[in-house]
Amino acid sequence: MDIQTLTYLFVGGSFALYIGIAIWSRAGSTKDFYVAGGGVSPIANGAATAADWMSAASFISMAGIIAYSGYDASVYLMGWTGGYVLLAMLLAPYLRKFGKFTVPDFIGDRYYSNVARTVAVICVIFVSFTYVAGQMRGTGIVFARFLEVNVNTGVVIGMAIVFFYAVLGGMKGITYTQVAQYCVLIFAFLVPAVFLSIMMTGHVLPQTGFGGTVLDAAGNDSGVYLLHKLDQVVTDLGFTEYTEGSKSTIDVFFIAAALMCGTAGLPHVIVRFFTVPRVKDARISAGWALFFIALLYTSAPAVGAFARLNLIDTVNETQYTELPEWFYNWENSGLIGWVDKNGDGAVQMRAGAPFEGKPTYAGSREETKGSYGERVLTNAPTDNSSEVYIDRDIIVLANPEIGNLPAWVIALVAAGGVAAALSTAAGLLLVISSAISHDLLKKTLMPGINEKQELLAARGAAVVAIVIAGYFGINPPGFVAQVVAFAFGLAAASFFPVILMGIFYKRMNKEGAIAGMLVGLIFTFSYIVFFKFVSPELNNAEHWLLGVSPEGIGTFGMMLNFAVAFAVSRVTAPPPEHIQHIVEDIRIPRGAGEASAH
């Protein structure tokens, strides 16, 4: 069977599996009316949480970023993993005790203020949007490659599937569907990783293969460490050393902290902790989820390194006409572009962008064929010797092909990419639609609407969200990374301190919270806008405040937020008695000592 048929089979099969599980779990008529503990084991719940957590960004993009940026990309690994730990340990248990489902609800009630609620709603919607847009792009790429369509068409197909899945299917709430998605996802990620690790280093575990030595062509240990070889190869081509970062330590710290605190407030994962009825089970689930997430996160650096090495080996200095099939396929999808600057017909991979912007083609391959059969680009070439553009997001998907793995592995990876995007996108869409219909309309703007109208508003919000996210998936605004930094930075600077102080500092009042949020928000917003949009030419370490890049400035905003909130709350009236009482109560585990207190 060819790759395409296999892909149809695997993606279709995984869908059939999810739908089958959903039907099976609802139709069982032998069940009891009330099942203790929801009847789901903590391991299953952990896997479901991991599926929610790991998005298309984790599955598709992260290894790609690592492959290209090397050490610098480790901030994403640290930031996102740290964010999960922060969320699981510091926030979720207390939010759970407070008894509120959404972050805006918590903030609105804790600070007895609709202004605070509205600010939080806007943050939630903004962060979720950027995240969904990323998922759309991810599914778009998967469909583009494997259905052999343009990436834009791929995004539209992805939109339709996510809409069906999230809004009409009602499958999100079923833990075992999520578990199945995790299984497909992790299997799809690890199988090629293990294959490549064995082929290149002889280690079964990619995690150890990453630090091991490479095998030579005959399969014998060459005695050269993988990372040494990679450093050698990339510096030869003019790139910075793979294991050497270009960012300053303080910047790395600030970016990681901003990602961590921004991620900790991600609403769709917080909710997952609430669906487990028993506190003890919730804790065990969180532990399992961390394990399941770590499986992927610890393999990603190895996958990135293998991919980079393989890619250079296969593509660099190879005649265009002799390249493997996958190169042409991705070129067809619009995610690879080659411009033969020196006219030798071979592909040169060098540091720097080969041309300006994303590739735009003069027409399809049939209409405008270059002298070697390549698709002709209309972009203005740059004056360096770099000739080829390869979209970072295709690394994980193309990895098995680059490494010459069997066709079924390639199909499996496609199914995994779809699974990763689906669960996260569906979760985020629900959050957006309920934030708009419930937190914004029902609680703040239009308290008079009835249930039916609320339901309609939620549906409408989901549709609008998908359309907007799809738009950004098709027209990535050239600064996806910037927008993501924007989102997480704003989240960290605005509601993270407010949640934290809401839990741990009973004297914090609404004046302090609102002042803190506004200062953090405005400072971070202005800093990012100034460097990214107003004067991008000044965007370098010399002009940055204390050497902190716009990606990391959210952490600074967060500190300001803390300081301002604290100061303002000291000079204004303390919060009402019952709020202080609730805050004290939040940190005492329910059931402990309560009998004697009454």
Partner: protein, 603 residues
């Protein structure tokens, strides 16, 4: 004949040969509105199968307004029993332009003989119909009579005396007018003095005949309006343990309805059950009365009494039965402890006797050393009255379900803190608690704690409501009814999500009522649900209950052992019933969606 009808029950029981003969032998006939298709007491030479339009079944001997016995719509069959009986008992008249398939009587009889299953269906229907008819004659109350009688049909002129009147005046007046009670008026307010009150005052309390009436009068009146159903007034009397209600219109007393009047009005054996329970002073008498309840249910159903009224009446009767038993078993000085019933009994929605789900709340300083033994005895007593024990042991014989108010409050805290274990189930049970004996204030105190702990806790409420999504609604992808051969589970697929969803909303909105219909009314009043939707849900609920009950009754009579409890075989319903059922299930489906949003169950 077209295939659609042939695939319906009972035609689906026919073999290939039978079908072919039927197809060949059937004619099609057209009737204008008001055409008489088959007259009463005439012999019928065909069986009729309605293809289009509708046909009314009329009892020509009944008085005007009470004639209609039934309606037949597309897919329904009539005249079969007339063929088997020899002649038609009722008149069948076309209501609209109607098309009927005519199956010749000869062919029909042959089919009944040659096709065993097909024949059995009709012979059973015949037996059933005869039985219902007998009950109707015996009961003496027709369907319409039962349903439509209003309070005003049965009330007497009130005897009103000024508030200065004395006991002596009252006795004289009562004797003169031949009544049992007298009202006294004080400005806008009324009070009532009954014969019993007078006797108590004169004999038991040794008051003089010159005592002013106001001193012995009862100021808490149980009232009704002239337009209320008599049935509802009867229910109220039973519930409040009084023998009369005062009829008020715009603040003025316009009449009194005496229990004896109501009973003689209906003159049916059914209502005597209530009286028997009241009169019972020994356990044996109570057992006798209790044993008559199943009969009463069947009669009520045969008479087509609206489910809502039947449920109310039976809840009141069951409540009185338990409260009587409680008085007999529990020592007099301990009777202020609150006995509550839970589950479907608590909601007042059980028709046939279900498991005993009950609990006991003691006053905070109530000393009752023999409580455990007494409660064991009470549970055994209920068992002897025909209430099976609760499999989950939610009974007063289990010390986990008795105790003083503070212990109950602690339990609520514990249960809410452990939603993963049994806690949620226990909270669900307690939410439906309804006091039947003792001091109901105790239960209300516990309920206050329940509300203050649970209602605002969104996470807990989400877990509370989640079972609503546990079972699929039996509709297929295209929105029509699923038709598995073993039937659809009406309890899991329809009744449970509806009842539990309303319960969850009631808990969230701090509604103290326990019956689903009353909760719906209060939810509308609280603005949590639109009036139209609540009304639709209420009707759906009645429909499901009726379907379920008719299955249970059939099972009690030993029919259809193959069909599981709570299962409805869609193929056996008429097409009209199917349409109604499908619409009601769509409503449940929409309700589930709303609940998903309200309680954040999508995640």
């Amino acid at each position: 004949m077209i295939d659609q009808e042939l695939n319906q029950y009972p035609f689906s029981q026919l073999g290939e040969a039978g079908r072919r003969r039927l197809q060949e032998g059937t004619d099609l006939a057209y009737y204008e509105p008001d055409d008489i298709i088959l007259d009463a007491a005439s012999t019928s030479d065909s069986v009729f199968l309605v293809h289009k339009g509708s046909v009314a079944e009329l009892d020509v001997n009944a008085p005007d307004g009470r004639r209609q016995v039934g309606v037949y719509a597309a897919g329904d069959l009539f005249g079969a029993i007339s063929v088997l009986n020899g002649q038609s008992r009722y008149r069948f008249r076309a209501e609209q332009q109607t098309l009927c398939y005519l199956i010749p009587a000869g062919l029909f009889r042959e089919l009944c003989e040659s096709e065993v299953e097909f024949g059995r269906y009709f012979s059973q229907r015949l037996a059933e119909k005869n039985q219902r008819l007998a009950e109707r004659r015996e009961g003496g109350v027709t369907l319409a009579g039962f349903m439509l009688a209003r309070v005003e049909a049965c009330m007497r002129e009130p005897l009103i005396m000024p508030e200065q009147a004395t006991v002596r005046d009252a006795v004289t007046a009562l004797k003169q007018h031949g009544v049992d009670s007298v009202l006294i008026q004080h400005q806008q307010h009324y009070a009532i003095v009954t014969k019993t009150d007078l006797l108590t005052a004169l004999v038991m309390s040794n008051q003089s005949p010159d005592t002013r009436l106001a001193e012995v009068a009862e100021t808490e009146l149980v009232t009704a309006r002239p337009g209320d159903y008599l049935f509802a007034a009867l229910t109220r009397m039973t519930r409040h343990k009084v023998a009369r209600v005062v009829v008020m219109e715009k603040g003025v007393a316009v009449g009194v309805v005496e229990l004896t009047d109501v009973l003689s009005f209906f003159s049916s054996r059914s209502y005597v059950v209530g009286l028997e329970i009241e009169k019972a002073d020994t356990l044996e008498a109570l057992q006798l009365a209790s044993a008559r309840l199943p009969d009463l249910v069947e009669t009520l159903m045969a008479q087509g009494v609206k489910m809502r009224f039947a449920m109310d009446l039976l809840a009141a009767l069951n409540g009185r039965l338990m409260s009587k038993a409680f008085e007999m078993v529990v020592p007099g000085d301990q009777q202020r402890a609150c006995l509550m019933v839970m589950g479907s009994e608590g909601r007042g929605e059980q028709i046939l006797k279900t498991d005993q789900d009950n609990g006991l709340i003691l006053g905070e300083h109530q000393q009752w050393s023999g409580c455990d033994q007494d409660m064991q005895r009470f549970t055994r007593t209920l068992l002897s009255l025909g209430y099976p024990p609760c499999p989950g042991s939610v009974m007063v014989s289990n010390p986990q379900w008795t105790g003083p108010v503070s212990r109950w409050q602690q339990r609520v805290q514990d249960w809410a803190g452990d939603p993963g274990g049994k806690g949620l189930l226990n909270l669900t049970i307690l939410t439906d608690a309804h006091a039947v004996a003792g001091d109901p204030g105790l239960l209300e105190t516990v309920r206050d704690t329940l509300f203050s702990r649970c209602s605002d806790d969104q996470l807990l409420m989400a877990h509370f409501a989640r079972p609503v999504l546990q079972f699929a609604t039996p509709l297929n992808l295209f929105g029509s009814l699923k038709k598995p051969l073993h039937g659809i589970d009406i309890k899991k697929g329809a009744l449970f999500p509806l009842v539990h969803g309303v319960r969850a909303m009631a808990l969230q909105c701090r509604i103290r009522e326990t019956s689903t219909l009353a909760r719906l009314d209060k939810l509308v009043a609280a603005g949590a649900m639109e009036p139209g939707f609540a009304e639709d849900l209420g009707e759906a609920m009645e429909l499901f209950s009726e379907l379920r009950l008719s299955r249970q009754l059939a099972k009690l009579q030993g029919e259809d052992e193959t069909v599981e409890d709570n299962h409805i075989v869609v193929q056996q319903l008429s097409s009209l019933e199917r349409d109604v059922l499908r619409d009601a299930l769509h409503l449940v489906s929409e309700f589930k969606q709303r609940l998903s949003r309200r309680f954040h169950l999508e995640y």
